[in-house]
């Protein structure tokens, strides 16, 4: 296992975890806007599957870099492929961060961060668990009351909004 591979793997993992600069693709043809608004000026038309670097998010929009330009794209117009490589999938070597991120790689070689998860962690653990009522009491001692939650919301300027949505739309 070369240091180069390890370094690439590092970058892949870190970019996944930190999410400071997410790698994504356009999931459909879309427009890059100057600002995060539908009626803002169009900076570029992006074809489907254009790689973009996500710099930030704002509401339904993502600030992205693509083709030397930066602007805003609808988040729903992006797709996010899996990014983490397994150590066994390095047959061809990871010659660049791009390949480490899974670009243009066969699906079978895409990594699988999430192979165990709930089942691996909890199914056996839960079956064998002895109940811990003391931990439950501890957990319950951290509950927030209404007044505390309201103050907490005000501190961040979170204001309750009345939004009516037809029942059939919610089902």
């Amino acid at each position: 296992m070369s240091a180069r591979f390890l370094f690439a793997a590092c970058l892949a993992v870190l970019s996944c975890l930190a999410r400071a600069e997410e790698q994504a693709f356009t999931g459909r043809a879309t427009e890059m806007k100057e600002r995060a608004m539908a009626d803002s000026a169009t900076l570029a038309s992006l074809a489907e599957n254009t790689p973009v670097k996500v710099l930030a998010r704002g509401g339904g929009w993502a600030h992205v870099e693509a083709g030397g330009k930066s602007g805003w794209v609808r988040v729903f117009h992006l797709r996010f492929p899996a990014v983490v490589e397994t150590s066994t999938s390095s047959a061809g070597g990871l010659s660049s961060l791009g390949s480490a991120l899974g670009f243009a790689r066969p699906r079978t070689q895409q990594a699988n961060l999430a192979t165990t998860g709930v089942r691996g962690l909890t199914e056996e653990d839960l079956k064998n668990a002895s109940p811990d009522p003391a931990a439950l009491r501890r957990l319950q001692s951290w509950r927030a009351d209404r007044g505390g939650a309201e103050r907490f919301a005000r501190e961040a300027r979170l204001a309750r909004v009345a939004i009516e949505v037809p029942e059939e739309a919610r089902r």
């Binding site: 390890l6 370094f7 590092c10 892949a12 993992v13 870190l14 975890l17 999410r19 997410e22 994504a24 998010r57 704002g58 509401g59 339904g60 929009w61 988040v75 729903f76 992006l78 492929p81 899996a82 490589e85 150590s87 699906r107 895409q110 990594a111 961060l113 999430a114 998860g117 709930v118 089942r119 962690l121 909890t122 653990d125 839960l126 079956k127 109940p131 009522p133 931990a135 439950l136 957990l139 319950q140 951290w142 509950r143 927030a144 009351d145 209404r146 505390g148 939650a149 309201e150 907490f152 961040a156 979170l158 204001a159 309750r160 909004v161 939004i163 949505v165 739309a169 919610r170 089902r171």
Partner: protein, 291 residues
């Protein structure tokens, strides 16, 4: 040296067990005696029974997954969760939120208003609005009593254990006014539901989609940027990878499917609330204090 440390961190991270799914509450594939089927299908759990059952499940769960020791973080998550729940259709449940110390990426809703989120998921979030999106999805499961529905819909599908019989029996009703008896029943029934090994039984796909829609609505009504859940699902799509062979993913809607389901609903109803706060700074403070 630094490279080696980074490499080790990367390998460690890559080897950690992590399930990128946000669907929970898949408690309970409790089989109900066919003779009791009709009774059970029509049963209305009282809020007290629902809470007792949820506490029983939670106590068992905490026996397997330790709480994160950072009390400030626990209180922070409780404030976010309580504020969201206050803007749901069941504001008066004894809402309780907790962070469990595991790298698995997930969150879990118990009947009656106990919600657990893993440190693995929390560590991958970028703002309070994303945390709100995840918690609101769980709150929606509780509001809609999805876990209890799963019990009821499982009626008659397999053999019944003693506890199952107890659940289906009128004994619970008699204990309704007996606090100690109710707690004992909840503890026994909740633990049985964990030990039964059916915890991974997924909720119905339509319930997950409903929890996503109601979740973003609750987040928006609470003043958050409702696109937090969208960011979480896109993160999960990345973390998940191509896991088509893994049953836990096979039995749940893929993040991409959930996003596709959400898009029309959000465009039609929530786009105008997209500029509400994401609350990144407070989230970073709460998280970094623990790291």
């Amino acid at each position: 040296m630094r490279l080696t440390a980074l490499a080790c961190a990367a390998l460690l991270a890559a080897s950690l067990p992590a399930a990128a799914q946000l669907d929970f509450g898949r408690l309970i594939n409790r089989a109900i005696d066919s003779g009791k089927k009709l009774h059970e299908a029509n049963r209305e759990y009282t809020p007290e029974q629902e809470i007792a059952l949820g506490e029983g499940i939670a106590a068992g769960f905490l026996g397997a997954a330790p709480l994160d020791p950072d009390q400030d973080l626990q209180r922070y998550v409780n404030r976010v969760g309580r504020w969201l729940a206050m803007n749901s259709a069941r504001p008066d449940l004894p809402w309780t939120f907790g962070v469990i110390d595991t790298q698995t990426i997930n969150a879990f809703a118990m009947p009656g208003g106990t919600v657990l989120i893993t440190r693995g998921l929390l560590d991958r979030l970028a703002s309070e609005s994303e945390l709100a999106g995840a918690l609101a999805h769980e709150i929606a499961h509780v509001v809609k009593r999805h876990q209890l529905s799963a019990i009821q819909s499982a009626a008659g599908t397999s053999a019944l254990t003693d506890i199952g019989k107890d659940i289906a029996s009128d004994a619970i009703d008699r204990r309704g006014g007996d606090v100690l008896g109710l707690k004992k029943w909840g503890a026994d029934a909740g633990l049985e539901m964990l030990k039964n090994g059916v915890f991974l039984r997924p909720l119905d796909r339509s319930m997950e989609y409903e929890a996503d829609r109601l979740g973003v609505l609750i987040a928006a009504r609470s003043g958050y940027d409702p696109y937090g859940l969208v960011a979480v699902l896109q993160m999960l799509a990345q973390a998940k990878g191509d896991t088509s062979g893994i049953s836990v993913f096979n039995t749940h809607p893929a993040p991409a499917d959930r996003l596709a389901q959400l898009e029309g609903f959000m465009n039609a109803n929530l786009d105008r609330y997209a500029s509400q706060p994401q609350v990144e700074a407070r989230f970073r403070r709460a998280i970094s204090a623990r790291r």
